[in-house]
Amino acid sequence: MIFEISNYLLGISDTFSFLRLVNYITFRSIMAALTAVAFVLIFSRHFILFVHRRSLLDQVRETGIDSAFDKRGTPTMGGLLIIGAVLVSMLLWGNWKNPFLLCSVAGMIWFGLLGLWDDLSKVRMKSGDKGMSERRKLLLQGLFAGVFAWVAAGPFSPLGPELATKLYIPFYKHPLLDLGPYAYGAFIFLFVLFVCNAVNITDGLDGLAITPSIFVVGVLGVFAYVEGNRIYSAYLHYPFIRDAGELTIFTAAFVGAGLGFLWYNAYPAQIFMGDTGSLAIGGTMAVVSVLLKQEMLFPLLGGLFLVEALTSQVQDKIGVRWLGRRVFYRAPLHHNLQHKGIAETKVVIRLWIMSGILALIALATLKLR
């Protein structure tokens, strides 16, 4: 909104020349981040009380770990705060004609609503195990993933026809291969499903999902800035993606909202993000990675999410259901660490450190190519 108004005023008269600032991505990013933080910090208390009064409280899953017991009754659906903050911030500072922004916001809102539905049904069924059925959840996630795969790999791709179906990998300057629209579309489809569910699985301890997400989204923001900038992209041998700079602002708002949320979500949490938050974050990360052609960076950048998802799936699908034994002591990773006698706070901080290191390595791929 401010972007449009300022540009309009700039066109009218020279008096408003100081408003040229809004045409700088860095300025708008910082403002977007600050707005998002402020939004969360201001509204959190009211939101928490609102949720508490409606008894929209977290329902515990039976994981067999003691500490989960003390968490019963923590307000959930904190994801709404994150989504709200990003939306408000982007309303103020975003350029809504930008297709990159529209795709990312659409992803965030779709997955957010999906998660909200799941959270609400969990509350209604009074059990953490009985939310939306797994099949329906996958179906709705797949619906978005399918449409998005078409958008990203199809004829109207915001990336342009040359770039749309090429696959880039980290540490290598040139595109690895051109997959063609169908194979690449299928790849995006699976990628989106995998990432959003990986974040969902990671969201198990206080503050565990949000900080690594901040790292991931922050690094993606840097990539967006580089790829959206003609000079830097040429210097670092990245494909120049026109308009991708807008994603920097979006990711900045996201990082801001995440920081604000961490304020309340840090151990002992006053609010959980719920599936609303974890699915929205996952969906956003997936969409942004695809739009920046950094899908193959995700296993490195979001290595924590990858490991969490894999341990959980291997343990459940291969071990417990099929082989009839535990493959790990417990799964996913964070529960395994807890089981080994590491306190929740320590597990969380150690995993933050790991994801921070991974983010740094991922950032190094900017130059190391």
Binding site: D70, L323, G324, R325, G341
Partner: protein
């Protein structure tokens, strides 16, 4: 063009509406003028015979009645009904395969839809006054079609559904809600149909009546010596393998009593590829007994595959040994005979078990459950001949009890079932079928999953005084649950076997300990692919782990248990090793002071899995008998995991409690060298504590202490948890 097609369409519509109207008028006229009855139901003789008995009753009352029997091609009805001389028509139908998306469900839907259409045509053409159904999936399309036509006001008929068993089948339970009357055999079943259920009994065709012994003897090809007690063992018209084999095995134990008993054995007509009743029995006899023994046996044992005049055999007998299908029970009850019932397990709703229990509660029968075993790689149901012989002799020698049972048997089920049904149909109030019989409080058996949830909750609450017998209302239930659990052990899916292992522990079925131990030691490998992914043996890790847990609950210790437990310490799966250590300390009283156990546990302290090390340290505290135990435990002071160090300290504490070591200054200094930093802590939320205390106080004041209700609540919760 469009206009023409519209006109044609309306003409067709008009024509069909007027046709239906005409048919409806015709139906009304015909149904009120003549007596027309449509019979349906079948699949097995158990469904067909009651229908024929009812038809016989109606024909006696109104000889001009027109009948039409609707069945499925190739089933029991196509033989029996033809022989009885009723006109027979076929429709399509199939058994309900369960609610899931599969080709068989699709086929079911198609077949039943076609069947409903066929039934509609039959109904419109025949225009019956009554539709009499006896269950079995054959009757489903007919009832559905009749209900549909009735609700469209085209059909003018009354629908009667007869339920033979104490637990209605799925389709009967569903359709029974909408039919005019559900005619019931067992009073327990009233609770399923509170609105339209009437208790009438089981209609039997007129030929079976009690005759004097002499008269009954006339038609039989063998003679029964006068002073013998006669036992009649049979497994229905097709025969039952369990009963046939058990009888053959029991003969050995009956030889000493050969001057007192006489066994009449109906082996059944089954001649399938899998089981040929008479040949199998013959072969078993030849194999088990020497010629001299066979000669002795011939003195008190006759065998025949089928008795056409079964009424005569019944009349001769003093005791029955049979399955507990509704038909058999009713014939027994009609002739006032006591019985030993061997219900077939794992039928839908466990209805044979429920039937048998109903008869036992009435005081007319005793129950023996069959075991599920694996013999030469084939899963079989088996009943030990020794048990059967023992039970037979015990009953035959106790004449008072036998008489009392016979008396109870006579009053067990309603008599004059046909007359009662007719009074319901003609609405002449000749019999009172409603009042006087209260719906007995009916408790269905728990499913295996429900049972597991219920028992494991109670066990977790009070492990030291756990006794499943006190938790279940009926001690018989426990016996049946035990047999059902044992049956699971021979299933192919490891999940089922695992459930069986848990249930055997929780039902304290200690006779099965050898089987459990065998499973624990079984080293049959899994497929290569599974092995590659981390699988090991057919009896998967969870099963072996749960065997050890079950052994602790069963709490029986002997040499075999010790041997297997010792082997489990070296199991490739870590949970088994750690549970073996737990079990070792559970049996610490027997194992302490044994050198090899101590060394084995000491080796477990080097285990790569910390869980095992923890349990081994605790076990050493439980088993150690001298100061070497202390030294070993002190060595773990710098272990990487705080839980291991914690366990070592606990072990030392246990050694102190057991007075193996005594407190001393040195001990204080030594334990002082333990690394006490820890990566874990328990948070304490003061406000949550306060809140909990407040709630607890209020609840105690409100409810008081009511431990008796606790068990009931537990069941309900377990059931709800499982079913929701």
């Amino acid at each position: 063009m469009l206009k023409i097609s519209l006109i044609v369409f309306f003409l067709i519509l008009l024509f069909s509406i007027s046709l239906l109207y005409g048919l409806s008028r015709r139906w009304k006229r015909l149904a009120s003028q003549d007596s027309r009855v449509l019979l349906t139901g079948g699949g097995t003789g158990g469904h067909v015979n009651p229908a024929l008995a009812m038809a016989e009753g109606i024909r006696n009352r109104e000889p001009e009645t027109k009948f039409l029997y609707v069945g499925v091609k190739g089933k029991a009805e196509s033989v029996i009904v033809r022989r009885a001389g009723y006109p027979l028509r076929f429709v399509l139908s199939q058994g309900f395969p369960g609610l899931r998306l599969s080709p068989s469900t699709l086929l079911f839907l198609i077949k039943v839809s076609v069947g409903i259409f066929q039934s509609m045509i039959l109904l419109l053409w025949f225009a019956p006054r009554w539709v009499v159904a006896t269950g079995g999936y054959v009757s489903a399309p007919v009832i559905l079609a009749a209900l549909l036509l009735k609700s469209l006001r085209i059909g003018h008929t009354r629908i009667y559904l007869h339920e033979q068993n104490s637990i209605p089948g799925q389709l009967n339970a569903l359709l029974g809600r909408w039919v005019d009357r559900v005619l019931l055999t067992f009073s327990q079943t009233l609770s399923f149909f509170p609105k339209n259920g009437v208790l009438v009994g089981y209609p039997i065709r007129g030929s079976i009546t009690q005759k004097p012994r002499e008269e009954a003897q006339k038609n039989l090809p063998f003679r029964v010596p006068a002073d013998r007690k006669v036992v009649f063992a049979f497994g229905g018209s097709q025969g039952a393998r369990t009963i046939n084999r058990a009888i053959v095995d029991a003969l050995r134990f009956l030889i000493p009593h050969r001057h007192k008993v006489f066994i009449i054995h109906g082996t059944g007509l089954n001649k399938s590829f899998e089981y040929d009743a008479s040949k199998d029995t013959e072969r078993r006899l030849q194999k088990a007994y020497s010629p001299e023994e066979l000669e002795l046996i011939a003195d008190f044992y006759v065998r025949q595959d089928y008795f056409h005049n079964i009424g005569d055999v019944y009349s001769l007998s003093d005791l029955m040994v049979c399955r507990s299908g509704a038909g058999s029970l009713n014939e027994i009850s009609r002739l006032r005979k006591p019985a030993i019932l061997i219900p077939k397990a794992n039928l839908p709703g466990d209805h044979q078990v429920m039937n048998a229990r109903a008869m036992k509660h009435a005081g007319a029968a005793e129950i023996l459950y069959e075991d599920t075993i694996v013999e030469d790689g084939v899963v079989l149901e088996k009943l030990e001949g020794r048990f059967l012989a023992d039970r037979i002799m015990r009953l035959l020698q106790d004449t008072d009890r036998l008489d009392e049972m016979a008396r109870c048997s006579g009053t067990f089920l309603r008599r004059q079932a046909v007359e009662r049904i007719l009074s319901e149909m003609y609405e002449d109030k000749a019999y009172n079928n409603g009042s006087g019989y209260q719906a007995l409080p009916f408790k269905p058996l728990l499913t295996n999953g429900q049972l597991l949830a219920f028992l494991s909750q109670s066990q977790a609450r009070n492990p030291s005084h756990y006794n499943p017998g006190n938790l279940l209302d009926d001690p018989d239930d426990l016996i049946y649950y035990r047999h059902r659990a044992a049956g699971l052990l021979s299933h192919n899916a490891w999940q089922d076997r695992n459930l069986g292992v848990k249930l055997i522990g929780l039902t304290l079925y200690s006779e099965k300990i050898p089987t459990l131990l065998h499973m624990l030691a079984d080293r049959t490998p899994v497929s290569r692919f599974k092995e590659f992914l981390g699988g090991d043996f057919e009896q998967v890790g969870f099963i072996r782990r749960n065997v050890l847990q079950a052994l602790r609950i069963l709490n029986r210790f002997d040499g075999e248990v010790e041997k297997h437990l010792f082997m489990a310490l070296e199991d490739p799966y870590f949970e088994v090793r750690s549970q073996a250590c737990v079990t070792a300390s559970h049996f610490g009283f027997f194992l302490s002071g044994q050198e090899w156990w101590f060394h084995a546990l000491e080796q477990r302290l080097q285990d790569p899995c910390f869980e095992v090390v923890i349990e081994a340290a605790l076990a050493i505290g439980e088993l150690g008998t001298d100061s070497s135990a202390l030294e070993i435990l002190l060595r773990m002071r710098e272990s990487r995991y705080w839980q291991v160090r914690n366990a070592a300290l606990k072990g030392i504490q246990r050694l102190l409690q057991r007075k193996i070591i005594v407190p001393s200054r040195e001990l204080l200094t030594e334990t002082g060298t333990f690394v006490l930093t820890s990566t874990d802590f328990r948070p304490h939320f003061a406000i949550k504590e306060t809140y909990k205390n407040l709630q607890k106080y209020c609840l105690e004041q409100l409810l008081g202490e009511r431990p008796a209700d606790e068990a009931r609540l537990l069941v309900e919760r377990a059931v709800r948890k499982h079913s929701s």
